[in-house]
Symmetry: C2
Subunit: 255 residues, 2 copies
């Protein structure tokens, strides 16, 4: 985190980065330790405020797929909702615990408790609790989840949706998406330095390859272009660079 | 639950009712089964909407006392906050699981994720997620917790505070507080049928006897008198009566 006290950074840790997506409810310990070490070493030495959001990986997505639940198709079965929500809470507990072990004042924020969608699928995510925790020096840690969705029961809320919502409502100064790839790649698999409009990259962005109820790179880039803040997409090695304000991966800035 | 589809009942299960207050993190299995059986048998046969709120008992209060945290004195120690919050989540998990086992579509709502206090201690608890779950046929289950509190870190949010906040913001038609006593008792330990103003009972209300960071009967009655809905204070045997609209314990109604 860089700059003034009021700077707010939103860091998303991709579910594919911190879990083994091929094995149900399995943390990728080495990757998680690496990215959390980077978070801890920067967040303790800088003045800015940090929100962490993580995806589902092999915790949330497997259960969501099992129950046929997506961001638009829901379930009214409380047990199915609990299977997805409970798995995400277990992953969140690991992330929060390991941040606390590193001296970061992390506390959990569970979207099912605070967010909902209306009948048009429009998300409402009041940020007062998250903001209150930030103001008190805590690092709120949110996660992909299920949330109430009018006429659908509960549907999936992706980590990426949380990032864009919070970046907007809290006025983030920078947004970072830590992905399994080192940035948005061109046709030669080289990292594209900057994306200023979707036309810049439309020819090279394919769909996400693994099972992912929350969309691939094309959707991420489109959402980040609509943010009111500069965003970076980068790999696990670049978390520290991003948090200290260095160039990391691909800058996506549609402002 | 009685009457029309739009009727909303808020039921608070006292922490002293569902836990053994003398033994850390111990559920009172017999009492919990009894009250949840009553909830299940009425909530499945009626059309109204139900919110359950439970207190901390030997889960939350012990940790809150250990760390010197109350509704007005906070902590900025993430580990202390997690000790209290984690204990309350464990109790909440038990309540939610056992309701689901009985066929009630219970889902957890954790106040730390949604509520905060300002520097004057005024509570903000946006009810959109809880309302969304209700509209989709779920039974939200909230609990006493710690929440962000401006200039204090996190402080305790009592179950009673949640009840009054939600009853107001959701427009509850009836509120019930299941306590260890069968109602507000007079000087001969007989249940007072109705309380219409605090003066009615000022002479007989003492302080709560056990360690309770969230206040005793006097505070409960005062808060319930300020509600815009009739409230009942009753013992574990009367949960079913309350939910089916029968007279239960003491009616507190200051309207």
């Amino acid at each position: 985190m860089t700059g003034t006290d009021s700077d707010l950074v939103v860091l998303k840790l991709g579910g594919s980065v911190i879990t083994d997506k091929d094995s149900p409810e399995t943390v990728d310990d080495e990757a998680l330790h690496r990215v959390l070490d980077a978070v801890a070493s920067t967040s303790k030495s800088e003045d800015g405020r940090l929100v962490v959001v993580h995806g589902g990986g092999s915790f949330g997505h497997v259960h969501a797929a099992d129950h046929g639940v997506s961001t638009t198709t829901g379930t009214s079965d409380a047990a199915a909702a609990t299977a997805i929500h409970g798995a995400m809470k277990r992953l969140n507990g690991v992330v929060v615990d390991r941040l606390q072990e590193r001296g970061v004042a992390a506390l959990p924020v569970h979207p099912l408790s605070v967010a909902a969608r209306d009948a048009e699928g429009v998300l409402s995510l009041p940020a007062g609790a998250t903001e209150g925790l930030l103001e008190e020096g805590f690092v709120p840690v949110l996660h992909g989840d299920v949330i109430a969705h009018a006429n659908e029961g509960v549907t999936v809320l992706s980590g990426d949706e949380i990032v864009t919502s919070l970046a907007d409502s809290l006025g983030a100064s920078r947004v970072g998406l830590c992905s399994t790839v080192p940035g948005v790649l061109d046709e030669h698999d080289a990292v594209i330095e900057e994306v200023r409009s979707f036309e810049d990259v439309a020819s090279v962005l394919g769909d996400s390859e693994s099972t992912d109820v929350s969309g691939g790179m094309a959707g991420k880039v489109q959402e980040l272009l609509d943010l009111g803040a500069p965003a970076h997409i980068f790999g696990p090695d670049a978390v520290g660079d991003f948090l200290t304000g260095e160039r990391a991966g691909t800058l996506v800035d549609g402002r």
